[in-house]
Symmetry: D2
Subunit: 355 residues, 4 copies
């Protein structure tokens, strides 16, 4: 099976290159009669969109999504939902000098090794632009989860560079340009971005995503565990280098007596497990964190080689985010929605409705 | 697609419960004419086997693997390779008291919620015993990787409880009961286990796995990235709560100028990426770390509920590892072998031989 | 994805060679809490079993099936159901002379071309013996269909050689050694088999399978149509060369005015469609016919070549059915059960219960 | 897995409704560096196009295909190839009267039963219009087969109504409006269509497709046999009710001594098997025939029911082919190309290059 599809029952296949004609996706397996609000999909896309704040890349794409099929008179019909976003602000000439040069930290080298050919313009298929299609698909998954299972998926930035942002309130997240759950951090974060931009450098980040209201019973033994699929979903986002569930890496230094989540009646007394036991949802909040590496495109000159194998240096002057981790917030939500929607339908298939 | 299979081209499906008749697997898609050494498979199983050291569970299972099909006159034929391990030391009576009780940290509650029925004996399908089948399959994948691509996969324990174990040499790993890459740590680790056993408690661990000699070009855009599939593979191991590739979570606090791996000729000057760029192998070592939570089964009494919803306490007195992270070492190797073998064949399908 | 699995949600993977240690299967995705009657599975196997009548191969295999996992206290648990049948009457020496010779009509040549190696004993993986595993899996699918959807699947022999057998009653089918729906044909069919055996020759057959009580709505646009999956299922049975649904090939010479099934209230007035419209079940009987070629193994000498490319002749003296089409009856039922069970669960996943 | 994708390694996913915004597909897994000629794809589409001859539906669609991704500077890049055809001559008002009426022989009733909602305009997703996307994808598969394996795939009409058309020469096929391999039949076929159109009736057909130059070794045991996948591919085409390989249904009345294809050196002396033995290609021509039912849309009034369950009659006055079997010729070629391309890549994955 080729690698551009995700999900077994709620299945999304994406296509498109950064500077090609369009990007988009097909969702196959979406339940019928689900009301679809194009404006809600567009809203999600706008959150991810480049150029939406001074802190992200200045490429100006309206990212207007069009539905080509699968929706009739405002409802899904059960047939494939195709969505397309035409590329409009692709300045391919910016990339002509990269035809033969491998940018450090980018997929230029590995795509060339794999395929022997690559669309070098703007990173081609490896561009973060591809994630717009995921966000569109995620919006449909979110509608399914909300309407048919009462699930709520949210995410926020919890670390940028060495600044950790304690959680205050979910409603803060959409009130600042950083998806921080405490807007009072906005100034500090802004200053750091400005500093990095000035230095021609970039920084990493940590994003936390939480799903509430997930019914117990989602996830499959033994390979397609819910947490295993979430780990894959998150690690498949550009620049992600680590994923943890619940206590995560901290669990390695905990004792069983402290880590185990005791129960009292129907309630768990803690949530170190992050809502997943034995790969199956417990009904508690699903909690996942992902580490995003610093943006690979930096203005500072870096040593590299060209396709001929000769040494050269590269300095990336395009329109890039100093911290791709910021825009990873809506993308992480989308991937969590897609994973949960898929497991919701898989659970229906084998065991009937989980609710 | 149900959840007990892994891999697209080199595909393993496992079956079996801890206290059922047998556990085992089918490998489908293995290339033909691969010499198979049953003794080598058994050696891998022995490394994972319970009762193999005083530091792991005392269940005494010979774990003798039998090949039922797919191998003829010492070579694979290209047809499914079925392997079976009959359970021999299953003391199910030890578990009778758990018929109606949900042990904290275990999958008892979630399996019951998912299926409305569960084989409670020894954790049933959720038992770590299931991983023996993965290790057997991993041994075949390792043979493929070694013989057809020159890939070498190894792992070691890098942290247990709060003891971090610096890497010294690979050859140390099989010379101590902890798979530590520095045998001088053996006494300290032994003492910690003894202390935990005495206290009726358990601890977590971190394992690092490394694949060397991986050809550049393995991995698929955009969902089935090599690192995404590795993350899934590792997170699908019992008790794993976090996975990171290369610099991992530390990348979040790094600058692009420090994190990017510059190139000089054919060489990368560093390996913060952990051998994967844009989801595709770069030819550098693949480096992955996984965090394992403390063993859920502890002797200390814990508050929980029974299937009727009444409050009760549980104290697990069976034969359990105070640190399941130790035995996770050969399992992590197996999962990395399975993932790489699968992507090796996928690469052949689309692009021809990667070597 | 390798080729030894069938089904997306109710998924069976088979393994085993004719003269290897064992054959068997794993069913993954079976709903939990389904009562499983081992005797009922064995009964299905006995119907297919060689040596069960004088008209089929004389290999004496008890075909005793053992369940290794996934069933607990008489019910499915939702985890993989592994079943195994150990080979007992494998007389491999009978086949030593075939090590280097390609039997006409057999898969000897093509397996050698595909894999460069083959287990030549008794046809190895290509032997009809493999279908025993399908029949065991089909028995579980049948239990699911009966208990959760009221579906009834039956088949009968409708043609053998040039003898056509008109349908009389379903209850006749198990009252004669030919699965004929009219037992009065038994003598004629017996005589033909005896004649063929004497002549060292073999003949073909046509089998018809019918599923009643199938809920409307099963099947997927546009590739995984119910009839497309049935066609694949049937064509995957050894020796099948043709499949037709409803009016089948006769439809080619019909007019629309005659072929279209008009409706009167909730009733269709005819069933030329064979219970499938646009790839989706209509609630009418699913009707499928399959053409089985004459048994390839015949005593008459045939011209062929050996692995070295030299001309030779082969005369197959082993224990073979003069008409494999007879035993195809329970196998066709099994494949139809597997296909319907799979689509029942797929329908649940996307649209909820079809009933 | 939802049902709108086909193929495991060369995977096509289609979308779109007859009267929606567009139809199209994504091909995932296509090898890189394959030269793609948009004109060649358009030529295939033109062969299938409605309105291309007086004998097929008079809907006027230019069927202009656009490539949105995956092709760069005239070559495939290995990333998903998305193709889209915008609908231009959709006269949805023609169908307003069908909102509540189930046309006999159509999927109206079954889609309603399955999904509880349907895009009734022009048959929605169940329209033969969907096959344009398959033809576009098939053209890419054909390019792969031609350039990398020397395979040639052709098809022709061998029966229409009760007129059988003996094979004369492949080059005749594109010289008449019926894809007949003997153009002298054109007048007779034309007259029959005219007669049917006048009578408000329709007729069925048989198409034969042949693949030459297929390397030995393609196909998988035991479920994903090459002939099983071909059967599925053909049966997934609208209106197909039967599929046969090689001797097909005639094999049922043959003796083994007549049916077996003897060998002489590297040559088979006959091809009753249709190029497939044990599910694996033998190197001989792959020969498949498909039976197509008469067009369901006829002008003659037919008894049916509406969504409320009331009796009514329907007479279809839209622009329809009296024989959809004619246009099935390029579609059958496309499906055969897709199946062979998929198995070519699957063979590479497991066994290396088959050539």
């Amino acid at each position: 099976m080729p690698g551009n599809s995700y999900g077994e029952q709620f299945r999304v296949s994406t296509f498109g290159e950064s500077h090609g004609r369009a990007i988009g996706c097909i969702i196959d397996g979406c339940p019928p009669k689900l009301p679809i609000d194009l404006a809600a999909i567009q809203t999600e896309l706008n959150r991810r969109r480049p150029g939406s704040s001074p802190h992200v890349t200045q490429r100006r794409e309206p990212d207007s999504v069009e539905i080509l099929s699968g929706v009739f008179e405002g409802q899904t019909t059960g047939t494939p939902i195709a969505m397309v976003i035409f590329n409009q602000d692709a300045k391919s000439k910016d990339y002509d000098n990269l035809r033969d040069t491998f940018r450090p930290g980018h997929a230029d080298f590995t795509y060339q090794q794999k395929y022997g050919i690559r669309d070098y313009r703007g990173g081609g298929r490896a561009s973060a632009r591809e994630t717009a299609a995921r966000v569109a698909a995620g919006a449909v998954a979110r509608a399914l989860l909300q309407q048919q299972a009462g699930v709520c998926v949210r995410a926020c930035l919890v670390q940028m560079d060495d600044i950790t942002i304690p959680f205050k309130e979910w409603q803060e997240v959409n009130q600042n340009a950083f998806f921080a759950a405490d807007s009072t951090y906005e100034t500090q974060l802004s200053e750091r971005i400005t500093e990095l931009r000035r230095a021609g450098d970039s920084c990493g980040a940590v994003v936390q995503a939480v799903a509430s209201g997930v019914p117990a019973g989602l996830g499959e033994p033994v390979f397609d565990r819910l947490d295993a699929d979430i780990a894959k979903a998150m690690m498949s986002i550009n620049a992600v280098k680590g994923v943890e569930i619940g206590a995560g890496f901290a669990a390695a230094a905990m004792r069983g007596s402290a880590h185990n989540d005791a129960m009292e009646g129907d309630q768990f007394l803690s949530n170190h497990a992050g809502g997943v036991l034995g790969g199956i949802s417990s009904g508690q909040d699903i909690i996942v964190r992902l580490a995003i590496k610093p943006t690979s495109s930096i203005r500072q000159p870096q040593a590299t080689r060209n396709t001929a194998g000769d040494a050269t240096t590269v300095s990336t002057t395009g329109r890039h985010d100093p911290c791709v981790g910021i825009r990873a917030v809506p993308i992480a939500e989308a991937m969590l929605c897609l994973t949960l929607a898929d497991h919701l339908l898989r659970q229906r298939a084998q065991c009937g409705s989980p609710v």
